[in-house]
């Protein structure tokens, strides 16, 4: 049972195709963990079908075909050689959903980032978001930070607490620019997350402010 499922409006944006690649990837991965979220997306897709059937037939815009074809062309194509589940698990340290494996680069390995954190970037075609796998050592925390844009986190292994609530495997944590938080990984094992950020993270507090100039977008 997932205690922090993706909120309904995020599932609706996903089901309608309105989500950008980064958050859509996070929702796709979340669906692998949450039966409820899968059922909700199926329900919303059925709603779209029912609404369509209830609508009077209307002439399509002249450019409807061109727009549809453009959307098909723009859809992300899976990597030609997606990782096998076993190989991905060896690299990442935990099994990850197929949707994420397709984004795992061929030369994927954990790289040290700030303060005991390690990262593997998952390159997105849409650069308005950045997607990374992040590993926080057991009992370690991120510096206190707030966000210039939205930040979405999906827990893939272990868990963390952010001072307000606990998040475990499959849980989604959404932080908007108003939220200032300090996630700390559980003491008994590292926490592995998918992190999708809209804009650079802004560190607050003295230590964080000193680090700001070194943070990459």
């Amino acid at each position: 049972m997932i205690r922090h499922p993706a909120p309904s409006e995020l599932l609706l944006d996903y089901a309608s195709g309105a989500l950008a690649e980064g958050p859509a990837l996070l929702v796709a991965a979340h669906l692998a963990y949450s039966e409820e979220a899968r059922a909700d997306v199926a329900t919303l897709e059925a709603v779209a079908g029912a609404l369509l059937e209830s609508m009077p037939a209307e002439p399509l815009d002249d450019d409807a075909l061109a727009r549809t074809l453009a959307r098909i062309d723009a859809a992300p194509t899976p990597a030609p050689e997606a990782w096998s589940n076993d190989d991905a698990q060896k690299i990442v340290g935990t099994a990850i959903p197929t949707s994420l494996r397709q984004y795992l680069p061929r030369d994927a390995r954990w790289r040290s980032a700030l303060g005991g954190i390690e990262e593997i970037e998952l390159p997105l075609s849409d650069k308005t978001y950045r997607a990374t796998l992040m590993r926080i050592g057991a009992g370690r925390g991120l510096p206190m930070h707030r966000h210039a844009g939205s930040e979405y986190t999906l827990v893939l292994a272990g868990g963390f607490a952010d001072g307000h609530e606990r998040f475990d495997r499959g849980d989604v944590c959404i932080a908007d620019p108003a939220v200032e938080h300090k996630p700390v990984a559980d003491a008994d094992q590292p926490c592995i997350c998918l992190l999708v950020t809209e804009a650079p993270v802004v560190l607050t507090g003295l230590f964080g402010r000193l680090l700001n100039p070194f943070l990459k977008r």
Binding site: S8, L31, G49, A50
Partner: protein, 83 residues
């Protein structure tokens, strides 16, 4: 953007979807006009919930709660259906 989920598509899946759509049509009678309007804008105008809030000049929280309540009602109605 949407990705295929873990479960493979199958003919059964399509049939279940069709059945579900028919049930949903009936269940949607339980939704308010406001809730249906938000769903319609999402699916037929490709709008995100935040864009819908802007265009309808509604607070974001109002649109979110319409979506949450709509989904809650649909869930309840579907569960009631299958009992």
């Amino acid at each position: 953007v949407q990705f295929s989920t873990e479960a493979p598509e199958s003919a059964d899946h399509a049939a279940i979807n069709r059945q579900m759509r028919e049930r949903i049509g009936a269940v949607m009678q339980h939704l308010t006009a406001d809730q249906v309007e938000v769903l319609r804008m999402a699916f037929f105008q490709d709008k995100s919930h935040s864009t819908i809030a802007e265009e309808m000049k509604l607070p974001l929280g109002t649109v979110k709660s319409r979506i949450r309540l709509a989904l809650l009602r649909l869930r309840e109605a579907l569960q009631g259906d299958s009992l």
